[in-house]
């Protein structure tokens, strides 16, 4: 594999660096991790993330200095298989799962990951969001099949957690290039209003207030109420809403909100949460594109790793996280995207500026995939 590695400063974009390192085979060194902080070095959730990477790979070398401020990572082979991981509850399962989604198609054997911890919190994308937007997006790149699913077995709200999800993903030798330039009109809005360890009425209150905003645009709105009980309800009380708008061309735009974790700040009313989440979805529709803001980097990665052909994807404004991801893709794969801004026409009522991303895939092929 490539012999030269890359060096970065600080703990930000930690997952991007490690997963791109794993995919490209280039080793990476991260220095000055919170070196000026009162508590310097890696946090528990980052250590937990490294352990997860170690579980899905074979032969990775990880060296951390005594204060935890410097990390050296020499990636091994992506092995996959059946793994279980207790995700540190400082971050929700979404934090870990976002990276697994990007790695899973390139394993030697199909991945079956059982992740336990916080399934829903206000910081990271929740498992419900990833399930309803990331999976359909990956299907467009040719990653599909019966064994491709994300199941929420138990729900666990922050801070206690206690949730469990099972993610299974088939392996692919190559990734199909895509042309997603026309999102199409939004035909329906679906959603999940979840609640655990609170009155089941919370779900209905969320649904009603969210509908009051969204019904101004569409009649076809259905928001499921998901109230888990007993052992499936985790350790902390809470509720939240995930909304997904589906277009005629099968693109998904999403927004979500979770209640404030118990004992961390002001509690939020379900009515306010529903209404604000619906407005967040409108904001996402205004941004627009064929891929929503939380899945931009996933789409760009799969474009980069596609066969040696042109891929085009229309996005809304690039998020700061995505911009950094593009820089990292350049560092690890030497791929630079063509970035064109598309201004809306004079009489068009389709939200703000869009960004058309074009690149030629590196022709990444998963050589370790087992052939049956």
């Amino acid at each position: 594999m490539a012999s030269h590695g890359l060096t970065y400063d600080g703990c930000n974009f930690f997952r991007q660096r490690l997963l791109l390192s794993t995919l490209s085979g280039k080793h990476v060194k991260i220095k000055n991790i919170r070196s000026r902080d009162d508590e310097p070095g890696l946090r528990d959730f980052e250590a937990s993330f490294i352990r997860l990477l170690d579980k899905v790979t074979n032969g990775s070398r990880i060296e951390i200095n005594q204060t935890g401020t410097t990390l050296f990572y020499q990636p091994g082979l992506l092995y996959g298989g059946s793994i279980e991981h207790d995700c540190n509850p400082q971050r929700s399962v979404g934090y870990y799962l976002e990276a697994l989604l990007m790695l899973a198609p390139f394993m030697k054997t199909p991945l079956k990951a059982t992740l336990r911890g916080v399934t829903n919190d206000p910081t990271d994308p929740t498992v419900d969001l990833l399930k309803s937007t990331s999976l359909p997006l990956m299907k467009k790149f040719g990653i599909d099949g019966e064994a491709f699913e994300l199941k929420v077995v138990k729900r666990g709200m922050a801070p206690g957690g206690g949730g469990e999800v099972v993610f299974t993903c088939p392996v692919r030798k190559t990734i199909r290039p895509v042309q997603l330039t026309e999102p199409g009109k939004i035909k329906r809005i679906r959603g999940v209003a979840y609640s655990v360890r609170v009155s089941p009425q919370m779900g209905n209150r969320i649904v009603e207030s969210a509908r009051s905003v969204l019904n101004q645009f569409l009649p076809d709105i259905y928001i499921y109420t998901d109230h888990m009980k007993g052992v499936n309800s985790g350790k902390s009380p809470g509720f939240g809403l995930t909304l997904v708008a589906e277009t005629l061309n099968g693109c998904f735009l999403s927004a979500e909100m979770s209640s404030t974790p118990q004992g961390q700040g002001d509690p939020v009313l379900p009515e306010d949460l529903g209404r604000n989440c619906a407005k967040l979805l409108l904001e996402e529709v205004y941004r627009g594109g064929c891929v929503d803001s939380s899945n931009q980097s996933l789409a760009l990665l799969l474009m980069t790793l596609g066969q040696q052909d042109v891929s085009k994807v229309l996005l809304g404004p690039l998020s700061p996280y995505t911009i950094e991801f593009l820089r990292h893709i350049r560092d690890f794969f030497q791929v630079m995207f063509k970035i064109e801004v598309q201004k809306p026409l004079e009489d068009e009522r389709k939200g703000g500026d869009k960004v058309l991303m074009t690149c030629v895939g590196v022709g990444y092929s998963n050589l370790s995939k087992t052939i049956k």
């Binding site: 600080g10 009109k185 996280y321």
Partner: protein, 118 residues
Amino acid sequence: HSERESDEEEEQGALKWKEGLQQKAAEAFLRQQAAAPNLRKLVYGSVVEAQESEEEEEELGGLFRVSRPQQSKKVQANTLDCSRFHPDTFHNWDVEEMLDSIRDCFVTGKWEEGHDAA
């Protein structure tokens, strides 16, 4: 011809602005191009720029720090690693104009020529 020549001589000072119009136009165009938000430059930048900003910060180091959102790589080096997009400003979705601005994103909105609901 002689008349024009003399005219030219007379107005040489006044007509100086006419010289190299094409070149000026080209320069103005390039200036405008540079001023318009060039996303590619924003994302990938140039190597020279990155080095410059680093030096500047070191010079100022210690008590003061110039905060430049686009170049503050050092500042954001240790912030939260999160993929959520939190824009600086949200639109006000209670006003009718805002709601109107996205009407055509929905099947209930206006359709372009040549497309229809079927």
